[in-house]
Amino acid sequence: MRARRARFSAGEALVWAALGLAGLVFLLPLYVVIVTALKPLAAIVDGSMLAPPRDWTIAPLAKAWSGACIGASCEGLRGGFLTSLRITLPAVAGSVAIGLVSGYALTQWRLPGARLAFALVIVANVLPYQAVLLPVALTLRRLGLFGTVEGLVLVHIAYGMPYTVLLFRNFFIGVPPEIVAAARVDGAGFWGILIHVLLPLSWPILAVAVALQFTAIWNDYLFSLVFGGPNPPVTVRLNNLINDGVGTKEYNVNMAGVLLVAAPALLVYWLAGRWFVRGLTLGGAR
């Protein structure tokens, strides 16, 4: 479908050079984090940030994982990982499930008020979270869920939901209505159509939704900070490790922590690949 390969030209060489330079700029932070995390502290204080490590060491990684001091406890980020996972996995499942069902119901069933509902979802997508922090805090306290994993799961399902609804709505609106009509004539009901007909064709968008929700919830800082309680998710611990530390700054341990915290989301991004990109473009309220 594409045009046949064009001849290589001087102009193109220039474009490639510019593209390569831009690529280096984009990769620089990743490179800096990796090399910093693998150097002894002395090499950082005395040497260049950009220099590759001469004496490789995984000690900073190990320390960030299980030995670095955050406040009074010196157990590293380890505990936060578990908290983050226990929050992220159910919250992803919950918000994706709600998005799937709602997006389907909004597009394929000609419900009265579907357009208004969609408008409310879009607005919800851009609400600054600061506007709800206080009521959420008060409600979680009332429910006895403040500072608990369950409380944060609930919060992430609620505030992740508008995005997944938007995602699935934008996907299902592209499914020919005849398919659903045919299934209705065949005797399938609301759930039968979803399970037998639409779900088998939705797995790419499911992957997109899971990948985006995983990164969004894993990466969350604000809710984790406010509602995290005594055993907060890993992002809060990371910031405390780096910005609230007393004594000598261990830059290599800090960057090792950054690497550890960023790794799961980067892994999901890498696994989801092209779908991740598709999700970003589908998420716009088209």
Binding site: P176, A181, A182, A183, G187, G189, H196, P200, L201
Partner: protein, 360 residues
């Protein structure tokens, strides 16, 4: 053997009226072809019969049973859609048997029915392929098989062939006719292609703007269109419509058209003719041609252009102010710009009121 009865159906989407009190009866075993321009409400009528829309009023009954409030799946109807409606993730076989699975038909019976339908539609070899791996014609055969295995009380076809090319369309038209003849269920066939409707329908229903204008056998509708719109819509090329005036010649109604006086032999008036009133004269292209026994001369006309169809030649002619199309022989021996003597068989003429467009 059940009939399908649609009584006074009404449906509006906001301010747009899709169905404006439509009634239609389809007898057991009968195939009614519903034809009309896009947006006329014909697909809404089919959706109403299938239960895919909520009506604002009216009644749908099948075999005397009121099904108006029932889900599509509870009506025992089958729908063949335009071509996008196969389940993309299922094999052809699963597409055909899905409805039976949903209704709890025993596996063995479902399999037997699948095999029978597949044989009838000659799709045995492609049953394990997915829709994306099928050609347009194969897809439509699968869709028809899916409709067939249900053993429905009514078949509903929603422009099933409009996405196919002409040759395939003709093939599948035969297929549909054959399948329908076997089942003897009543059928509603929606199409925007009047030729397809003529070819398939036991009767033809012509729709415009949410109303049915005329129902009748293809021959009736073609020969005696009840409105100028039907006259123009059914038949290709379109019926020639020429303004004229009604006069009385020796007490017998005749037409005045420029310098011409044309008799109206044996015209079956729907209402008493009123001399002096303006009318629209409708003439089919094949009723206009070279003078022959029984035809009435219209004088000499200039040939504007010629369009050979193979079997004959369509000639566009200048008749005074009007342009008309005549069907001439295969090799008419004239060229554009020539003057030819033209005559018409006025016993087949139609007359319409220019204001109401109704047949006179």
């Amino acid at each position: 053997m059940k009939d399908l009865s649609l009584a006074d159906l009404r449906l509006a989407y906001g301010s747009v009226t899709a169905l404006d009190g439509v009634s239609l009866e389809i007898a057991p075993g009968e195939l009614v072809a519903l034809v009309g321009p896009s947006g006329c409400g014909k697909s809404s009528l089919l959706a109403a019969a299938a239960g895919l829309v909520d009506l604002d009023g009216g009644r749908v009954s099948i075999g005397g049973r009121d099904v108006t409030g029932l889900e599509p799946g509870e009506r025992n109807v089958s729908v063949v859609f335009q071509g996008l409606a196969l389940y993309p993730t299922m094999s052809a076989a699963r597409n055909v048997t899905f409805g039976m699975r949903m209704r709890g038909v025993p596996r063995a019976e479902a399999q037997a029915r699948l095999i029978e339908a597949a044989r009838l539609l000659r799709i045995e070899d492609i049953l394990d392929r997915r829709p994306a791996q099928l050609s347009g014609g194969q897809r439509q055969r699968v869709a028809i098989a899916r409709a067939l295995v249900r053993d429905p009380d009514a078949f509903l076809f929603d422009e099933p062939l409009s996405s196919l090319d002409a040759a395939l369309r003709a093939d599948l038209r035969d297929e549909i006719r054959r399948v329908h003849a076997r089942t003897q269920a009543c059928a509603l066939y929606v199409t925007h292609d009047q030729a397809e409707a003529m070819a398939l329908g036991d009767r033809l229903a012509v729709m415009r703007a949410g109303r049915i204008l005329q129902v009748g056998t293809p021959r009736e509708v073609y020969n005696r269109p009840q409105t100028a719109f039907v006259a123009g819509f059914v038949g290709a090329p379109r019926m020639n419509l020429v303004p004229a005036r009604l006069v009385a010649e020796a007490g017998v109604p005749a037409l005045e058209l420029g310098d011409h006086r044309l008799p109206l032999p044996g015209y079956a008036w729907s209402e008493p003719p009123e001399p002096g009133r303006p009318v629209v004269l409708g003439l089919r292209a094949e009723d206009i041609g070279r003078p022959r026994l029984g035809s009435h001369s219209l004088g000499a006309m200039r040939v504007v252009s010629l369009e050979p169809t193979g079997a004959d030649t369509l000639a566009r002619l200048a008749w005074g102010e009007a342009a008309i199309v005549a069907r001439l022989e295969r090799d008419p021996g004239v060229g554009a710009g020539d003057l030819v003597e033209i005559a018409a068989d006025l016993s087949r003429a139609s007359l319409f009121c220019p204001r109401t467009e109704r047949r006179l």
